[in-house]
């Protein structure tokens, strides 16, 4: 599904916004990578993106940018994003400052917990 016409909800006063602001000061290049990945994400069909949950897609979906299969081998900052097709919104729900590497399996479980909670919250 193409989501270019959806609204991006700004994370100003949310915990995610706080993490992003702190990262932007401490490590600007690392911050820009998931933001840049999100810019590409909103321009492509969601079928081509990495979905965290639900597996078959639905009214709301959670994606990971950059995709997990890249981060597994190249640890970096990553964003979990909720796409709500009903409300036509795109919202950052969590930012991993350093995803991937040796602890990736535990982080993947955490990502799924975030995704489940974000879907329950719709």
């Amino acid at each position: 599904m193409i989501i270019g016409a959806y609204e991006v909800i700004q994370p100003d006063a949310t915990p995610v916004g706080g993490v992003l602001r702190r990262m932007a000061i401490a490590d600007p290049f690392r911050t820009e990578r998931p933001v840049g990945a999100l810019e590409e994400f909103v321009q492509r069909d969601t079928q081509a993106s990495f979905r965290v949950m639900p597996e078959a897609g639905g009214e709301a979906e959670i994606f990971m940018e950059p995709p997990r299969y890249v981060l597994k081998h190249m640890p970096d900052a990553a964003a979990l994003v909720r796409v709500d097709h009903g409300r036509r919104t795109i919202e950052l729900i969590h930012v991993f400052e350093d995803y991937g590497g040796a602890g990736e399996a535990a982080q993947w479980n955490e990502a799924q917990r975030w995704a489940r909670a974000a879907l329950d919250d719709v």
């Binding site: 909800i9 932007a24 820009e32 840049g36 810019e39 909103v42």
Partner: protein, 171 residues
């Protein structure tokens, strides 16, 4: 390149991500600099892709023929020429050699650094000029004091000559 981008129409979602960037850059100037740096890096990759495309066309080789020369499909060649993001050095090498070209790597000081050096030297010249002006101002002041002193001495001399003349006439 997407159709929307080629028409310079920014989709709402892209505008939203750019607004997020701007908000972060307002609070973290270093982030704004990182965004510009990454944009320049992307522009550099696009310039290299454009150069490869231009050279292929100059040689009058189509994408299919070039792909056959380097063992890639036409769509892979198209991606090299049109995609966004990083471009592999091996891709550049294979592409160039297939066109009978030899890639050469050269690094030069960046324009920003050169401008910074020029600005630094201009600053030094400016400082030297200010110091020279201070010296000139100093001497101008001393010259004025000297002229004042001389004027006073000459005035005293004229007065004493006038006194002497009056005394001579009265006697």
């Amino acid at each position: 390149m997407s159709k929307a981008r080629s028409n310079n129409i920014v989709p709402k979602a892209v505008a939203g991500i750019r607004a997020l960037r701007e908000r972060l850059a307002e609070e973290a100037p270093g982030y704004g600099a990182a965004v510009r740096f990454e944009r320049d890096a992307e522009a550099f990759c696009q310039a290299v892709r454009g150069e490869l495309r231009k050279r292929r066309k100059q040689k009058k080789v189509d994408q299919q023929e070039l792909g056959a020369l380097v063992g890639l499909t036409q769509s892979a060649i198209s991606r090299i020429e049109r995609s966004e993001g990083d471009i592999g050095l091996k891709s550049i090498y294979r592409y160039a050699r297939a066109l009978g070209l030899q890639p050469v790597v050269t690094f030069t000081p960046s324009v920003d650094d050169l401008l910074g050096d020029v600005a630094g030297e201009a600053g030094e010249v400016g400082q030297l000029g200010r110091e020279l002006q201070q010296v000139a101002d100093h001497f101008t002041g001393e010259q004025a004091k000297l002229m004042q002193s001389l004027s006073e001495d000459v005035a005293k001399l004229i007065a004493s000559v006038a006194d002497a003349a009056r005394q001579a006439r009265s006697s």
